[in-house]
């Protein structure tokens, strides 16, 4: 077996190139034909021809844990109603909108290391530079991140989201099975691993924090709690909007999450 595998390794690179080329051709061929088929008749005015590719075809979803996921989904729904909703209401009543916006911006700015590491690992130096620029501008001109001053700099606007999950995707790792995590909600295996790593990149979770003079454990706990509280109204708004218009809330959220992540990693 040994010599054979050596030989395989020897020609494998060329074979890979040839294989990719053939695959590309095969993949491109139907697309070319489809484009021709769509163009050849006069501008179609009668909608929804059967011969054109179905742009909304349901993609196969990996959800082997669906029964468990549905149970956790239900549990989370109850938890949001019992705990998170009152918290969000109270927070919104107690703070004026500019304060809410400032806190959202502050915690978003604090997550800069996640985006930087994500872009660097994905091999996207331009975005890493943009993110660094955003962080510097918002931390200085934006008063420690309370104001998104970077939005007035065109080159720093609309930088696509990044984190370990998007870096894994850039390496070619697929999402894996769909998961509903307790409390946190919809996820997939790739992004769950990414998320677990991202947590360590948030400065408030760094151990260096503990070496500050006069550190108390409740500093960190307080900041983390504030982070959850300030993010709760936006989170619930998205969640509620989705659920209100859903016919099967679980399927709607699963599809919505997977579509969202697929487009985020493609950006």
């Amino acid at each position: 077996m040994k010599p054979l595998s050596r030989r395989t390794a020897f020609w494998s690179r060329d074979a890979l190139v040839a294989f990719s080329f053939v695959t590309l051709l095969l993949a491109a061929a139907p697309a070319t034909f489809a484009a021709d088929a769509a163009k050849s008749p006069a501008p179609s005015t009668s909608s929804g021809q059967a011969d054109e590719p179905d742009e909304f075809a349901v993609k196969p979803v990996s959800d082997p844990l669906e029964p468990l996921n549905r149970a956790v989904f239900k549990f989370n729904d109850g938890l949001y109603s019992l705990v998170l909703r009152p918290v969000a209401h109270g927070y919104q009543r107690a703070t004026p909108p500019p304060v809410q916006r400032g806190l959202t911006n502050f915690f978003d700015n604090l997550r800069f290391p996640i985006r930087l590491v994500g872009d660097v690992l994905a091999g996207r130096p331009k975005r890493a530079v943009q993110e660094t620029g955003k962080f510097l501008v918002n931390t200085t001109a934006g008063f420690a991140g309370l104001v998104r001053a970077s939005d007035s700099v065109p080159a720093l606007k609309d930088v696509p989201p990044a984190g370990l999950g998007t870096a894994f995707a850039a390496w070619g790792i697929g999402p894996g099975p769909f998961l509903v995590l307790p409390v946190i909600g919809p996820n997939d295996v790739r992004d769950t691993v990414g998320f677990a790593g991202d947590v360590y990149l948030i400065p408030t979770n760094w151990t260096a924090f503990e070496r500050i003079d006069g550190y108390h454990w409740w500093w960190r706990t307080g900041i983390q709690t504030l982070d959850v509280v300030q993010s709760s109204p936006d989170f619930l708004k998205t969640y509620d909007d989705f659920l209100k218009s859903a016919l099967d809330p679980y399927l709607a959220v699963r599809n919505g999450y997977l579509q969202y992540r697929e487009s985020a990693v493609k950006k």
Partner: protein
């Protein structure tokens, strides 16, 4: 993202004769489905029919005018109708709800009886209009910027926009299709989530289990639950 007013919306007179010719050429290049002579007059209605982005701008402006009136409501006047009712005529003008519903139901559509198809279109239209009008919140008017349209094929375009609203920016993309009456919207994609694809994922198992009747029951239930929650 740099945005310019749509070519068709810019005043023609200012450009003079050669300007008009250049405009006609540009329009013809921009939308291959339109013969050059049709673009020459470039009055707003025909321009809206020819240029998908002009149609979308018109639609967005009309919706915003309804949702965010310039004049504050007269306190003496009777309370206005719910937003969903007020935006319905505007949306019906610019959306093809038939195409939208057909796309959301998917392959099962052709096996559905015409009466059931009609019922599904009516119900789904109500659900979509309600969902859409729920997105508007009192406060500052959202600012919409338009990016370059993407051609899907001769009859279809994707129109990316971004909406700045309450300190945040959302990417919203519209899919439009050439219909006999002009370009019509048949999907809205918010932050990468296509509304039609999302409903397709829910309709497909319903249809597989209980056919068109299951879809009708599910939408009716959603509409009833929503009305009950509002009371």
């Amino acid at each position: 993202m740099k945005t310019r007013p749509p070519i068709a919306a810019r005043p023609v007179a200012r450009f003079g004769r050669s300007g008009t010719a250049a405009l006609a050429l540009l329009l013809a290049l921009a939308s291959p489905t339109v013969p050059i002579f049709a673009a020459a007059p470039a009055t707003p209605p025909s321009a809206a029919a020819a240029d998908p982005q002009a149609m979308l701008r018109g639609a967005v402006d009309e919706v915003l005018a309804v949702a965010y009136p310039e004049k504050p409501a007269d306190p003496a006047a009777p309370a206005p109708a719910p937003l969903a009712e007020r935006v319905r005529p505007v949306l019906e003008k610019y959306f093809s709800f038939e195409l939208l519903t057909r796309s959301a139901v998917g392959p099962g559509w052709n096996q559905t009886k015409p009466d059931d198809q009609k019922r599904i279109i009516t119900l789904f239209t109500e659900l979509v209009i309600r969902t859409y009008s729920d997105k508007f919140e009192p406060g500052a008017r959202p600012a919409v910027t338009y990016a370059k349209p993407v051609e899907i094929d001769a009859a279809r375009r994707e129109l990316p926009t971004s909406i700045a609203y309450a300190g945040k920016t959302y990417s919203v993309s519209y899919r439009v299709r050439q219909q006999p009456e002009g370009w019509r919207i048949y999907d809205v994609n918010v932050e990468g989530v296509s509304m039609v694809a999302n409903y397709r994922a829910q309709f497909t198992p319903l249809f597989d289990k209980g056919g068109a009747a299951a879809i009708i029951t599910a939408i009716e239930k959603n509409i009833a639950d929503y009305a009950a929650a509002k009371k």
